[in-house]
Amino acid sequence: MRKLTRVAAPALAVATLFVSHHAMADFGRIIATGGLTTVEGSGGGGLVPWATLSSYAEEGQWGGTIAYNQVNLDDYKLAVKAATISVDNRWEFSVAKQQFDLLSLGGSLKQDIYGIKYRLGGDVLYGAMPQFTVGLQHKRNQSFDLPQAVGAKDDTGTDIYFSGAKVWLDGIWHRTWLANVTLRATKANEMGLLGFGGDANNSYELQGEIAVGMFINRNWAVGVEYRQKPNNLGFAEEHDWYDIFIGWFPHKRIAFALAYTQLESIAGADGQDGIYGSLQVTF
């Protein structure tokens, strides 16, 4: 947690520059519109960053979240500590620390991710236009020996993504639905845990990611996410990921998600499916 504080401090400092004098930490948006925190720290679902902005900060307000995500797979375990600050329902700043334990091989891979997201326009709830955002995730691999040994070219990389999200309050079956589409340009191998670029490909690839969710009521949502991934390393094929999730928003201050996650084959170890758990506190 001390390390998280250290990396969060610059993000907080930048964020405060955007907070106008009258802005207050507040909860001016409708419950669940802040979504959850992804494995890369950005606001969204679990695997896919969404066009939603973290926290419940409306115009003239700011808010933040802290989150812990864990994915338990057959041969691996991913743990993510993340924090976000959002300002004016316009900007989202995030920081995440990933630790990916290699349960069968021993050791672990680590990565820090600094994210920024900007709402270009639209509103996820109101009006005909979806909410559109553009974002960056700057990733710094902290354990590059193994990625380098299997052909990765760089220990840092920056993903650029564009997202659109829309909510239908009265959708199919008179339930509230959300759909999100994200396009990401990336060189990351397994999100960057295996470095960036590789012997098989060393240029940016455009990847599509989607999420569809249905709110059973205001507090419970179910949905699916799908995420394309590039294939830059010759030593093992990289696969697309998907998850099927249940989200629980009992209160604006707290949210949980539980998911079945299928991450296919990672670094040659097949059948990496497992359970994803996520906890988010909003302030």
């Binding site: 409708i30 115009e59 003239g60 239908w168 008179h174 759909a179 989607i210 059973i216 009521n217 699916v224």
Partner: protein
């Protein structure tokens, strides 16, 4: 996989809703149900420090009557809303996005108190959400 899913969603959205559905007016409990709901809604607003200042000089009885009439008409009931347009009503109030959301939450609480089904709540919320642009920053 992604493409199949998007096509499936598109088909579901494109299928027209079966015509036999009850009107929202009936689901809200017709005139009496709407009147009770609007009363609960106004009581919620009255206790909400975020928005109460906008209602200080409002004639509550008239506000209740106009709201009920409007909801009755919008939900497919046999009423004719006799008030001004949403833009006119809110002109000069300069309602912020956060204040609009606060009032939506007041309605959600009121609908919960009236034990309205989620589907009924969503139908009403969707109608009110469509006025967002006409209400804020007027």
């Amino acid at each position: 996989m992604a493409r199949i899913f998007l096509v499936a969603i598109w088909l579901l959205l494109a299928v027209p809703v079966v015509a036999m559905e009850r009107t929202l007016y009936d689901e809200l409990g017709q005139e009496q149900g709407i009147s009770q709901l609007m009363e609960a809604f106004i009581l919620e607003i009255a206790e909400d420090d975020r928005v109460i200042h906008h209602f200080e000089n409002v004639d509550i009885d008239r506000f209740h009557r106009m709201l009920s009439e409007h909801i009755c008409e919008l939900s497919g009931g046999p009423c004719k809303y006799s008030g001004e347009s949403m833009v006119t009503v809110h002109t000069g109030m300069n309602i912020s996005r956060a204040e609009f959301n606060a009032v939506v939450e007041n309605l959600m609480t009121a609908m919960d108190q009236q034990q309205l089904a989620v589907s009924t709540q969503n139908r009403l919320l969707a109608i009110l959400a469509s006025f967002h642009k006409e209400v804020i920053y007027q």
